[in-house]
């Protein structure tokens, strides 16, 4: 099939970008969306042009590298699908496809469709861990964890950090991402020990990095390729209120 691509081109972080429209012939519906872009880049390079930069790695929906805003939707809008899992069967001959990078002040564009998502790492560094040195751990079965809690922790832990929640949110809020990590640890006895500090530190760091605020619209949940639920945000709010109300004033 033949398609028209409208792609955001931006040389680097400092330059201004613009949309460029390309015609692409010979697209097969057997391609994945990114294989279509590979093919597109091959045609550009062979003509001596500069290929479109976009991020990818595993191509099986688990590394979280890929993330394109396709025709108005993060990851193209298919249910629980990452960009790399999107297939060209979703498109038809003559379609125009507009491809944009994630848009958020906290995710500046590096080049073309690649954005800098290191803000996510920074939030996790503020408290998204359990302080357990190697060698200090008790036997893995020493602390039983209710199956429902372990399963809930897992459901929150499957976040791949792709940033679609931020990209889809009308406010560029990162709360789904942050709350998923907070929830994972909130469900586990190992994580509860530091829960009070964790939620406060991570929320504070998130605020510093320029993400927007949550208005409980739920676009993040709808676009999350891993099905992370909005209930995580409520749990984070609960943890936060508990931490603020319950924590003692520290006197030095």
């Amino acid at each position: 099939m033949n398609i028209t691509l409208e792609i955001w081109r931006q040389k680097n972080a400092r330059s201004k970008g613009k949309f460029v429209t390309y015609k692409l012939d010979g697209v097969s519906e057997e391609m994945s969306f990114l294989e279509m872009l590979d093919y597109f880049n091959k045609t550009i390079v062979e003509k001596g042009g500069e290929p479109v930069a976009f991020e990818y790695d595993c191509r099986e929906g688990i590394c979280g590298c890929c993330g394109l805003h396709i025709n108005g939707y993060a990851h193209g809008g298919a249910h629980e699908t990452t960009t790399c899992e999107l297939r060209m069967t979703k498109f038809k001959d003559g379609d125009k496809i507009t491809i944009e990078p994630w848009r958020s002040r906290a995710f500046p564009v590096i080049k073309d469709l690649i954005v800098d998502r290191s803000a996510f790492d920074k939030i996790l560094r503020a408290g998204g861990f359990i302080t357990a040195n190697a060698g200090a751990a008790p036997d893995a079965n020493a602390i039983p964890i209710r199956k429902v809690d372990a399963d809930e922790a897992f459901d929150s832990a499957v976040c791949v950090g792709c940033g679609a929640c931020v990209a889809a949110c009308k406010n560029s809020s990162a709360m789904l991402f942050v709350s998923a990590k907070i929830s994972q640890f909130a469900f586990l006895p190992q994580g509860r020990v530091e829960a009070v500090q964790r939620v406060q530190k991570m929320v504070a760091r998130m605020d510093e990095l320029g993400f927007g605020n949550c208005t409980n619209t739920g676009a993040c949940e709808a676009r999350c390729p891993k099905g992370i639920k909005l209930t995580n945000i409520a749990r984070m709010n609960r943890e936060f209120i508990g931490a603020k109300l319950g924590s003692q004033i520290v006197r030095h």
């Binding site: 391609m31 500069e50 290929p51 899992e85 297939r87 039983p144 897992f154």
Partner: protein, 639 residues
């Protein structure tokens, strides 16, 4: 002349590691803060090592080519992680895990290393749980286990089909903690281009900042490579597209011996290639073989829909050939059996290059809900990619390039033949012999990262405390940086017509056809010629977009492909020199009358460690003879 010394500690097998731990030199805490360690690669083993080394007080500079350590391809390991906890009371023990790995590796691994890997597996599970990894649990609240290919006990811990992701995120959280603590400095989006060796010791690396294109120098008292495997040599593989051999290859060129390079595992359960555009083969966890039954039609070229083929016309060939292990035979055996059926004309699908993996019986017996609980995300993934619903029609699978058992040669301390240069995880060769068992890589990677390297590296660093911080102005840095720049210039100067990926795809095809699941002398010799020709063509006709000081993905790919030619040639040489079949390495000339792999222990019970002798020269073979004092070498039978 390099002399291989594995430095295996004295004493009985079960005591070697604890004795060694008692005897390695220690570095006092104040001195640790004066020592810099460069760590390249922050997947599971790299992240685990970074967090442990940081906790100990060393200064770690960690590098990865991704934007975040969380993206490393450890994330894609699905099925699980082994540990000899014996929580199931089914007779498991450290010894049995050790024995299973040795046997699974077809007796081509070092006893002492394997035993140690089995020994620390228990600590590893404890550590991961403490880090908040949400492993599957029973209603009692205790950890659940499942069985996995090639063994007869249930010792695999798992987190649905995303065990690798959860383990990596656990280790990554530990790494994050050390970054916050200031003990680890993270350098993401960096490609390692070269290793700097000063007075025979690894002292630094040259990197390219993938965003700005700048060439950077970094120094340290030791360098650790945790750069993973090179299954992408086949182009189509289960690996991430960015996985590459370049760092290990740079080390090899600087004097680190490369061991068993042709031992690449072909994973039996991957999605088949559907068309020519495809850039990767998605893995379907081996755990599916616990409940799925593999079959092909009994009639050649049977065009009926799978559900229309009655039981009597189905050939459950694994159950037929290997009644004791059935669908749970090790990966190499399952892969070759699938290839054998397809080559004989019984394959299914449009290309005839796939077999069925059927869950009909399991769903009938256990109910759809139970199957969904175990494999839900895998079924969904399959459905998304293939368009077929595996709850209703059998999956179609085919083997794909997966894991490299081969890698940089290391001694018991995980040090390569270059002093101060270490290799951990998939990047080294140590534990899996000629074939890795399922759920073994997460075990090895986290064990080496958390518990082994941080101790053994101290033995070397204790001797380095008088060495002040290494200056990056040293002439060796100049030389290495210039070489790296020259390579980039050379790649850009070609200015041909074909993209790096085109070459990669063509190289992959050659390697898959002649140095893949089945090898023979004629094919390997032919491949050697083809690879050489393709490499020459590459240097005449590759097209690299000329934007050096900028993010340039074509340049990244070109550099990696250039190194793939080197490893491809070495793989072929290695495969040619080993005229026996063992594990993943199947030489047609060496098989039993019923088509099983035939090992020749009298001649090939050694690790083939290759010394680099120049780009166009054959490499020099060094043998590390394998001594088996605790297990009896026998034919590996799964019948």
């Amino acid at each position: 002349m390099i002399k291989l010394d594995a430095k295996i500690p004295e004493g009985p097998l079960a005591e070697k590691w604890s004795r060694h731990k008692r005897s390695v030199k220690l570095v006092n805490p104040a001195n640790k803060a004066k020592l810099d360690i460069i760590l390249v690669g922050t997947g599971l083993t790299g992240s685990a090592a970074a967090s442990s080394l940081g906790e100990l007080g060393y200064n770690v500079k960690a590098f990865c080519f991704q934007d975040s350590p969380r993206r490393a391809h450890s994330v894609a390991a699905q099925g699980g992680i082994n540990a000899a906890k014996n929580y199931r009371n089914d007779g498991d023990s450290v010894y049995r895990l050790f024995y299973d790995i040795i046997k699974g590796g077809d007796f081509r691994a070092r006893e002492a290393n394997v035993y140690r890997a089995a020994e620390v597996s228990n600590q590893t599970i404890d550590q991961l749980v403490a880090n908040g990894v949400p492993f599957a649990r029973e209603y009692s609240g205790y950890l659940d286990n499942r069985s996995f290919g090639g063994v007869q006990v249930s010792r695999t811990f798992y987190a649905k089909g995303q065990t690798g992701q959860q383990c990596l995120l656990g280790a990554y959280s530990g790494l994050n903690r050390q970054i916050t603590a200031g003990k680890v400095t993270m350098y993401p989006r960096r490609d390692m281009l070269d290793i700097v060796i000063i007075d025979g010791k690894a002292r630094g690396i040259i990197t390219r900042n993938l965003v700005t294109g700048e060439i950077e120098r970094h120094s340290g008292h030791a360098v650790v490579l945790a750069t993973g495997g090179y299954g992408t040599i086949y182009y189509l593989s289960t690996l991430a597209l960015g996985s590459n051999v370049s760092a290990a290859w740079a080390a090899h060129k600087k004097g680190a011996l490369f061991a068993n390079p042709s031992f690449i595992q072909i994973h039996p359960t991957s999605l088949p290639q559907l068309n020519d555009y495809q850039c990767k083969l998605t893995l379907m966890s081996e755990s599916l073989r616990n409940d799925g039954r593999i079959w092909v039609p009994k009639i050649k070229g049977d065009k009926r829909q799978p559900n229309d083929i009655p039981e009597e016309d189905r050939d459950y060939y694994l159950e037929r050939r290997y009644p004791a292990f059935g669908n749970l035979v090790p990966r190499d055996v399952a892969s070759r059996a699938a290839k054998e059926r397809c080559d004989a004309g019984f394959g299914v699908g449009k290309t005839g290059l796939s077999v069925y993996l059927d869950f009909k019986d399991a769903i009938k017996k256990q109910g759809k809900k139970a199957i969904e609980n175990k494999y839900g995300n895998l079924f969904e993934m399959y459905h998304k990619i293939s368009g077929d619903n595996p709850y209703e029609v059998p999956m179609r699978i085919y083997p794909a390039g997966h894991y490299t058992m081969g890698g940089l040669w290391v001694d018991y301390n995980l040090m390569t033949t270059v002093e101060g240069l270490y290799a951990i995880g998939e990047a080294n060769f140590s534990d899996h012999g000629a074939n890795r068992l399922g759920a073994g890589s997460l075990m090895q990677c986290s064990g080496e990262g958390y518990f082994i390297l941080p101790i053994t590296i101290g033995d070397y660093l204790a001797g380095q405390i008088k060495t002040p911080r290494i200056s990056t102005d040293h002439p060796e840095f100049e030389v290495a940086e210039k070489a790296a720049r020259d390579k980039i210039k050379k790649l850009m100067a070609v200015n041909g017509k074909q993209t790096p990926t085109t070459f990669h795809r063509r190289l992959g095809k050659i390697m898959w056809d002649y140095c893949g699941m089945v090898r023979n002398e004629e094919g390997l010799k032919k491949a050697a010629v083809l690879v050489k020709e393709l490499e020459e063509e590459f240097w005449k006709d590759v097209k690299v977009v000329d934007t050096e000081l900028e993010l340039n993905q074509e340049l990244e790919k070109a550099g990696r492909v250039a190194d793939f030619f080197g490893i491809a040639k070495l793989m072929i040489q290695d495969a040619l020199s080993r005229k026996e079949s063992c594990g993943a390495h199947f030489r047609e000339e060496s098989q039993t009358p019923d088509g099983e792999a035939k090992r020749i222990d009298s001649e090939y019970a050694y690790v083939a460690a290759w010394e680099y002798a120049g780009d166009d020269k054959p490499q020099i073979l060094h043998r590390e003879d394998l001594k088996f004092e605790n297990v009896e070498l026998k034919e590996r039978s799964y019948k």
